[in-house]
């Protein structure tokens, strides 16, 4: 029996309220891999992610977990998911990531705060620990969310649109930081993103999903990201070019092959 995987889908149907969205999903995620999850809006990315996280049971089939089970997930939600009325400091926010290992009814201890400090150092924002989360810039919030996810000592880091609404400098900085942490802590990373070039540059594997087209494909970047499949899924003329050891994706206007 293959036990090298962390998470495995074999002929799984994902969906909710007993309604299947996408049939026959096969997927095997190994330790240390960096997976991108891409697809059009409403294509089923969130449903797949919630099934992986165990928040949504599959409609049919079973999600298998490898020998590390139960896995600790470090979840980085979208930055705008939080209500700014809460006066939560950066350190308090990061400490909440540690709650996965703190039982209900037990308070935060001194050693938990030490881990908070270490995580803030890992994401290079120890100076922001007493600032309010709501007062941070987009990039600073993303680093705080990353520290929050790391505080639980995760096996898998799950990122939901980590570079949404960021400028190119912030985007590069956060992705390089994620890459650095992944290598140093030997983490497995799953990243939902609309930015295909970011996925192509930083991930080594990708899932492309579109429930409306009943399309699901998984594999290495080179296997999945072809001009033909991207054009089909996104309904645009998409060109893929090899640039040094990475691929670049160019999307043209609908029906034209103008490069952007």
């Amino acid at each position: 029996m293959d036990s090298s995987f962390l998470i495995k889908f074999e002929d799984v149907v994902i969906g909710y309220d007993k309604r299947g969205l996408l049939d026959s999903i096969d997927l095997s995620i190994q330790n240390g891999q960096f997976w991108g999850i891409v697809g059009p809006n409403g294509g089923g990315k969130t449903t797949l992610l919630k099934t992986i996280l165990g928040l949504m049971p599959p409609v049919k089939g079973k999600v298998q977990y490898g020998k590390n089970h139960p896995l600790i997930f470090g979840y980085v939600p979208q930055r705008e998911n939080f209500d700014h009325i809460f006066p939560i400091s950066v350190a308090e926010f990061v400490a909440m990531g540690k709650y996965i290992r703190i039982p209900v009814g037990r308070g935060i201890k001194k050693e938990d705060w030490k881990i908070v400090t270490e995580c803030l150092e890992k994401v290079e924002i120890p100076h922001l620990r007493n600032r309010l989360f709501r007062s941070l810039s987009g990039g600073e919030k993303q680093r705080t969310l990353l520290a929050h996810a790391l505080a639980g000592g995760p096996d898998i880091l799950i990122l939901d649109e980590p570079t949404a609404s960021m400028d190119i400098k912030g985007e590069t900085a956060i992705m390089e930081l994620i890459g650095k942490i992944k290598e140093r802590d030997n983490l497995t990373v799953l990243m939902v993103s609309h930015f295909l070039n970011i996925v192509a540059r930083f991930a080594d594997h990708v899932v492309m999903i579109d429930k409306d087209d009943e399309f699901f494909s998984s594999g290495t970047i080179e296997e999945v990201f072809s001009g033909e499949t991207l054009s089909r899924v996104f309904g645009l003329n998409v060109t893929v070019e090899q640039v040094t050891d990475k691929i670049r994706i160019y999307a043209g206007a609908r029906g034209s092959d103008k490069k952007t």
Binding site: I85, F86, P87, E92, I102, V104, G107
Partner: protein, 292 residues
């Protein structure tokens, strides 16, 4: 007219206001504390709904006591017990609504408030001889506090504080980030239910002692004021408790010496603190934009 002789008279009448003042101060403290959750979770009108449902319970008990056919159950139809049960049930329904019934939160609050208000007015119309008691329930009374409430209100407050002491981090977590809490396998539904039940029970008990209007004010205004004054979460709770106590105590004091309706006096005191909070925050924002 307020003068030093009024204050002296107030002090000399210690035996008259001691019990209501104790009950008011404890109610201000616990309502101020729980109000922080109510405000942060953006469900301020839950306070109004629950205090109204509590009044409904009390009024219903008075009404049922008038039926001779129910004489066997007289001891069971206690205004305090019935208001507690009804407020607890309303809090439970509100906590579980999102997952089971999926009616909008505002819809549930509006429905609960209006139904309870309507029935209280109908019952008050039917039992004119207890109309004064009903008015006390709705608007509070400065000098009349049932002696057992001097024990019940602090006892309930201590139990609520103990529960919140134990689950403080968990209540904050499920209020701020329920999505991650579910991912971490926290019992989000149970924690939300316990949190809202503590709010419901405290509102039921304090409404019986103070009245619906001041309890709603003490749940909402001290917490809002505290959020104007500090940006540290722990301090928000501390300040909300202090402002709750001050609002109740000053409300009773002015009610006593100026012969004002107590509930309205407490509500006005809490509102004045809120206005001071707004002024403080605006001043701070102005100085920040000027100097840095």
């Amino acid at each position: 007219m307020l003068d030093t002789s009024s204050f002296g008279e107030f002090i000399r009448s210690y035996f008259l206001w001691r019990d209501p003042m104790i009950v008011g101060a404890v109610s201000g403290a616990i309502c101020g504390f729980l109000g922080v959750y109510v405000v942060l979770r953006r469900i301020v009108f839950v306070g109004a709904m629950l205090s109204q449902v509590s009044s409904f319970g009390v009024a219903l008990a008075f009404y049922l006591q008038g039926f001779s056919a129910l004489s066997l159950f007289q001891s069971l139809i206690d205004p305090f017990a019935l208001s507690l049960v009804m407020t607890g049930a309303a809090a439970l329904f509100f906590a579980l609504n999102r997952e089971f019934f999926r009616i909008s939160q505002e819809g549930v609050i509006g429905f609960g408030y209006l139904l309870a208000s309507g029935i209280v007015v109908i019952i008050a119309d039917r039992i004119t001889h207890e109309a004064h008691d009903i008015a006390d329930i709705l608007f509070g009374s400065a000098v009349v506090v049932d002696p057992k409430e001097v024990y019940i209100v602090p006892a309930v407050a201590i139990v609520a504080i103990l529960i919140h002491w134990i689950f403080f981090k968990d209540f904050i977590f499920v209020s701020f980030d329920p999505e991650t809490a579910r991912l971490f396998k926290y019992p989000v539904r149970i924690l939300n239910t316990v949190l809202l039940l503590t709010v419901g029970v405290v509102i039921a008990v304090t409404t019986r002692a103070l009245g619906a209007l001041p309890v709603f004010a003490l749940v909402v205004l001290p917490a809002l004021t505290a959020l104007f004054l500090t940006e540290k979460l722990n301090w928000v709770f501390v300040l909300a408790v202090l402002i709750g106590i001050l609002s109740a105590v000053l409300g009773y004091y002015f009610s006593f010496i100026l012969s004002l309706p107590t509930g309205a006096s407490i509500t006005t005191s809490a509102s004045l603190f809120f206005l001071l909070g707004v002024i403080w925050q605006q001043g701070r924002l102005l100085s920040r934009s000027k100097f840095g």
